[in-house]
Amino acid sequence: MTLKRVPDPRFLTAALAALIWLALLSPARSQGLEVDINKGQIDPLPIAITAFVGTSQDSAQAGADIAGVIANNLGRSGYFRPLPPESFIEQISNFDQEPRFGDWRQIQAKALVTGQAMMEGGRLKAQFILWDVGSQQKLAGFEFATSPSNWRRLAHLISDKIYETMTGVPGYFDTRIVFVSESGPKDKRIKKLAIMDQDGFNVRTLTDGRQLVLTPRFSPNSLEITYMDFGTGAPRVYLYNIETKQREIVGEFPNMSFSPRFSPDGQRVIMSMQEGGAANIFVMDLRSRRMQQLTNSDAINTAPSYSPDGSQIAFEVGGDNSQQIYVMNADGSNPRRISSGSGRYATPVWSPDGKYIAFTKQGGGRFAIGVMNPDGNGERILTEGFHNEGPTWAPNSRVIMFFRDEPGESGGPRLYSVDVSGYNEQLVKTPSFASDPAWSPLLN
């Protein structure tokens, strides 16, 4: 069986056509209105996001909803403070008219978003302008269109443009999260693969819960998921195609395979294979189905994660009261330990920009999420408590999502996000308990 490595055409039709409508990006930052996201604790930028003006009743509702999603996205990022619509003095009713900047200055808005939504040939089109209230300049303006049911994506794409314009860093709102949705009592948990938008909306379960599933991760084109599935008693690594809903085992191995992750080019899956008491790391080429063994020891070698350029692999080595993060070359050569603090280090995940490795750290009966440089220096703990585990990076390397388990018989895991600075921890609402999140790359 061969795997298609090209995007499914059905997915492309759902993709959005983005046009650069006004190319007025750079002057803004030279004029001083910008958000510095490298300062650590930040002073969020007051921004007014007005309901997009609708040219019909349908599009008016969509316009208001789009503004709400944008405000939620930007507010949750921690870098913006969306002003409450009740405080607005000017009500924007004509998108083509310049705003009354005095009205916006009066409510302390530093930036202003105006927009327009319309139905055109069965598609929903949204245009927006990001204004610098102080200089009365247009900072950005774009137009996006999609099918009306996909309206939230328009809002996410616009949020990304605003975020990028103001921070100079690409956004991360037009993304999805794959995770494990949990229900039932703690000793008989039902676990289903689920997928949702990064803001917790559009949740969809992909498996029916009859099989135990763990550790899903996206392919680089976001069309496939690799995960561990217990099947009917032989736990193995599987692939799941989101569009075709097809499930496929990755290699018929005699032993348990687990902890899979895609290579950055999407051509390979790296994973652990158990043999007796040892777990070693293997990589499978998805086209040739050839398997290459990368570690060979009696230890527990698991949780492999590629560097974004594919040249190196971070993984954990454990057993006998020790668990540490190692980095090796992609061919398995030159393994060296990078974690050096006290405690146990697990689940290394390389940031998309290559600058950090996020990890779970265990010590003193507590579980923390932290980051370190790929050489092991610069360790920083972002959040710490009873049980935090399994970091995953937003595509812009600024935000980490993880799960936090609660003590107690009726307790369960929930998803949280935190800025890489350690500030702005946020609960990601899910309909049920949730664990093992993995962030997709940008969808567009």
Binding site: K186, F258, S259, S272, T302, Q362, G390
Partner: protein, 166 residues
């Protein structure tokens, strides 16, 4: 008072039943004993294996070597399995919740391997013993304290076929 006496009656009935069971025990093999339900388990049954032999072996934190108690339980398991040679088993490996997911999957596989290898060394054919590793996914005890975690670091020997029905 009326209620109380009704309770006493029930207790008395129960006691009679237990006494009967104790009588019938004399004619059964040594391995069989009362199982606490007021009835002796059928020899060679899954129930007997669980209640009289012991299906669970406990492990120390992050360890996959057997304790003396664990070895004792496994010797009893091996003796029973030698007696009922058609029984096929699966050793389930488990870890407590105080570890990361992937690591615990592998740690529980190590424990299942240890248990399996011990049974093989005791003369049980390897082909009768499969293993599965559940990591921290199926805790047996649910409090968030060592008294529960210690019960979750375990292997459970589950009969998959060949047992007598009770």
């Amino acid at each position: 008072m009326l209620r109380m006496s009704a309770g006493f009656k029930a207790l008395a009935l129960c006691f009679c039943f237990l006494a009967l069971a104790a009588c019938s025990k004399k004619s059964t093999p040594d391995l069989e004993a009362e199982n606490g339900l007021g009835r002796a388990a059928v020899a060679g049954s899954e129930q007997q294996f669980k209640t009289e032999v012991g299906d669970t072996v406990f492990y120390l934190v992050d360890q996959s070597t057997l304790t003396p108690e664990g070895q004792e339980t496994l010797r009893r398991q091996a003796a029973w399995l030698r007696q009922y040679s058609h029984v096929m088993i699966q050793v389930e490996g488990h870890a407590d919740e105080r570890g990361t997911r992937e690591y615990n999957i592998s740690l529980s596989a190590r424990r299942a391997t240890t248990t399996r290898n011990f049974l093989i060394a005791q003369g049980i054919e390897a082909s009768r013993i499969s293993t599965i590793a559940y990591g921290k996914e199926r805790p047996a005890a649910l409090c968030d304290a060592e008294q529960c975690w210690s019960q979750n670091r375990r292997t459970v020997t589950v009969i998959t076929s060949g047992a007598k029905t009770s």
